[in-house]
Structure formats: C-alpha cells, structure tokens
C-alpha cells in the first residue's frame, strides 16, 4: 500500500535554535502515528511543520491527494494549502477554545466546515450537526447552546466533531487530551479510537503521555531535543526500549 504522507529530512530552526532536525517518516492510510517526547522536544513544531502551518527550514513533506496525485507541501500556494486544510485535513488543538468558534452555537461550530465546502441546505446541515453531536456523545438537544457553556471535555469532543464532520483523510492532533482529568481523558481516547477505526482515518498525534500512545497508536516516534531518537511499533518501543532516553521515559511512567 502506498503512503499518504512522506516526510523527508525535515528541519525547522527558530533562528539559531533547533525546532526539529532531520525528521523522516511515512504515514499510511488508516494509520495512527504518535509523536512522544518531553516538553520542548520539538513535537508540536514537527506537527505544525508537517501540517504546513509553519514553513520548514529544510526538507520536504509530500502528501497524496484523494485523486492519487502527490503534492509537495512546501511549494503549495496559500489557496491550495487552505483547500487541503478544508477538504482533506483536520486539526485538533490542545485547547478546544483555539479550535472552536466560541461566539456561535455548537451546531454552527459543527456545520461551519460543511458550509465552507459549499453546503447550503439548512435542514441537512442541522441534521448532520445533530448526528455528529450524538457520535461524540454530546446531548443533541444542546445543539443551540454556546460552547462556552460546555465543560472542558465536552468542548474537546465538540472540536473533534467539528473536525471530523467533513470526513477528512488525515487529522493532526496536538495533545487533544492534555489538561483534562483522567476519566474524561479515557472517554475521549475511547471515542477517538472508535472514530479513527470507523472512518479509516490517518492521524498524527502529539502527546507526552505514553499511555495514550499505547492505547491508540500502531507506531510511535520518540523525540528528544528536536531529533528522532527511536521509532517503531508502539508495543516494541514501550516494552523493549533501545535508546537510553526512551528507556528513561518508559521507566519514569512505570515508577509513578
């Protein structure tokens, strides 16, 4: 099977400081890849560079579109980049307030991406929004409530609904469960795992939580100081870490 995303020798420097350095990986359709590492290790930088939200200093990111054509993201125009982000990708931010439109209702938040794609039938928009609220376990009677009246976990689920409603092929997630309490985290992870399986999504997820990686990801990349120190099957990495830093990460989880 051919890859969906090819990252080759990707580097991003903030002036003299290194964001990420020489990162290469492939992502296949339907695969969920986790990027783990401590705070400041370049995970989010890498994610943003891959999602074309930051411009890399060197290296290339290639993406295979629905029609099978390969796109070099560095050479993409602003218009094409936005079209991809609108039609084929989704981005879930750590803080749902960054990803949601807080001054409009939950239903409008879910329907916004559909309207951006040109859907102009109110009843259909509404039915789709209601359906997706149900899918992320939000009571559909709250469709007209403002997201500010939702709890943190509900807001995050709303953001997931808003992102997935257009059935993207590739979703980027930046610590979607950080800042939530453990039981809410578990529900959201459970939800994500189910949706990813049902929709056959490919996803790149950044997390500092190894348990999240174990639960969701088939493959994991471990980063330290902007570089990839280890990459492989998640179970392999967590059960038999080779690199001293990974060993440290894994052991620190076990001892707490």
């Amino acid at each position: 099977m051919s890859a969906l995303l090819q990252v080759r020798d990707l580097s991003l420097h903030y002036g003299p400081r290194v964001g990420c350095e020489d990162v290469s990986f492939d992502l296949h359709p339907g695969e969920l890849l986790c990027i783990v590492g401590e705070s400041g290790s370049g995970k989010s930088t890498l994610l943003n560079a891959v999602a074309a939200q930051l411009t890399p200093t060197a290296g290339s990111v290639r993406y295979r579109q629905r029609d099978g054509e390969w796109l070099e993201l560095g050479a993409l125009s602003e218009a094409d980049r936005r079209r991809l982000a609108r039609e084929e990708w989704g981005f879930v931010t750590q803080n749902p307030r960054d990803g949601l439109r807080l001054n409009v209702s939950a239903g409008a938040n879910v329907a916004e991406r559909l309207m951006a794609l040109g859907m102009r039938h109110y009843s259909q928009l509404r039915a789709t929004a209601r359906h997706w609220l149900e899918r992320v376990e939000i009571d559909p009677t709250r469709i007209d409530d403002a997201p500010t009246s939702f709890s943190g976990g509900m807001q995050q689920r709303l953001q997931i609904a808003r992102t997935l409603v257009t059935q993207p092929r590739l979703v980027f997630m930046d610590e979607p469960t950080a800042g939530l309490d453990v039981s809410v985290q578990a529900r959201i992870l459970d939800l994500l795992r189910r949706l990813v399986n049902e929709l056959g999504l490919a996803a790149v997820m950044v997390t500092h939580d190894l348990a999240v990686a174990r639960l969701l990801a088939a493959r994991t990349i471990v980063m330290q100081g902007g570089r990839v120190v280890e990459t492989g099957l998640t179970d392999q990495i967590l059960d038999d870490p080779q690199h001293p830093y990974t060993q440290l990460l894994v052991s620190s989880v076990l001892t707490t």
């Binding site: 239903g107 409008a108 109110y122």
Partner: protein, 279 residues
Amino acid sequence: MTPRYNFAFLDEDTKRMLRRALLKAVAIPGYQVPFGSREMPLPYGWGTGGIQVTAALLGPDDVLKVIDQGADDTTNAVNIRRFFSRVAGIATTERTADATLIQTRHRIPETSLREDQILVFQVPEPEPLRTLEPREAETRTLHALADYGLMHVKLYEDIAQYGRIATSYDYPVLVDGRFLTSPSPIPKFDNPKLDRSPALMLFGAGREKRLYAIPPYTRVESLAFDDHPFELQSWEHHCALCGSNDSYLDEVVVDDSGTRMFVCSDTDYCSGHRPEARA
C-alpha cells in the same frame, strides 16, 4: 458659495486620489479599495466616507439630493446638503428624479434610478465578515480566496435562534458572483434594488478608509440557504399619508398612549403619491 474653500471643500489632489480609488473600485465590483480618508468637518459616523466621495464627484452642474433614513428633512441630510451648497455652490433638490447625485444613509429611494444618476452610500462598517472574524489580515485573505462559508455561519445562527434569517438590514450580498459585500445598513427591503441597477452605486467608509462600488447593471445576489430563501419585509398596513402599499414603511409612535401610524420612509416618494399630488 463661501470663497475660502476650494470647490466642494477638498483640495484637487485629494479629489484626484479619491477618483483613482473610485475607478479601481468600479473596475473590481464589490472589492474594498483603501484610500486616504481625510478629516472632515463632521464626526465619524455622520457620513465622512460618503461626503468625501460626493466631494470628489461633484461638478458645477450637478444637482444634489441627500437622504437620511429615507428622509430629506432630518439633521444629517439637511446639514450635508447645506454644506455642499455652501462650499460648492451647487443646486440641491429633494426630488429623486431631479437629482444627478444622491448621497444616502440607510435607504435607496423608492423611485427607480436612471443611468445618469449616481448613488453614494455612507458606510459605517465595510467588512461584512467583521463580526465573525476580527482580524483584518484574515478577512482580506478570505476575500482574496473567495472563501465565504463563514458568512453562512451567521445566517445559520439566525435560523437556529429565531427560526428564520432575522438579519433585516446590512444583509450581506455577493457582487458579480465574486465579492462578498456589505450593502451598508439599508433594510433588506432595498437589496433587490441593488441588482442590475441602471445607476452607479458607490460606497464610502470614512473611518475604515475603504471605498467600493457596484457598477451599473451588475448582478447582486443576497445570500440565503436553499431551504430558507431570501425574503423581503412586508406590512399589513398602507402608508397613512399617501396610501402606498409597495414602499418601505416606518412605524411611528404619535402620542403617549401608544397610538401608532405607518408612513413611507422615503419622504419624496410619499409626497409625490399623496392624493393632492396625483390630482
């Protein structure tokens, strides 16, 4: 005419700058052209944008009409009309048919306009997406990419809250199938008059420093949903003064016990339709 001022108040270089911006605006229907808005002898919000456009267009033979909410006899209209008769010495009128240039706040005259007339709108907020997207750089990008899904978010919210599109003025339009445009705060009743109008329509926002235009016979489409089409306001009443049932009516409270009457908002149209005028 007061001799201390240049003709129509503004100096010739400023008028030239305004005309160049207006030419660009006409060339790209609905596109907001930045311009160097000047300090005018009236406060922002009173029509500084419209008054600068009018000043740039006026010639000695022009006949000016000024409308404020449909009326010729309200403060804003009287002041601006007197201003131009003082600084340009031009003729003014209250009759739509006699005017060559009409500056307006919040209405389009009921009387059909002609090819030899120009309508100048005073615009408080030229950016229709502003309430949804506060960043200017972002709204400009959205215009450049014709990425207008956001506007429907507002209409969606209207229907979700009120069961219908409750926006009744400043109703967003798509000009020539390309640029999302604010028609200025005219009632949506007037939106159909924008579509393929024989008269040139110019819009000036003084505080926001933007000009835009709808050239004659340009297609102007009011946004809507497939299952919630664009609808006009309608009244169960006729105008209490002229009996008209096809013009935009104002509801006026006439005494302390809450008695109301409905009258035409367009005073010129109303006076022309009264029984004594028709006889």
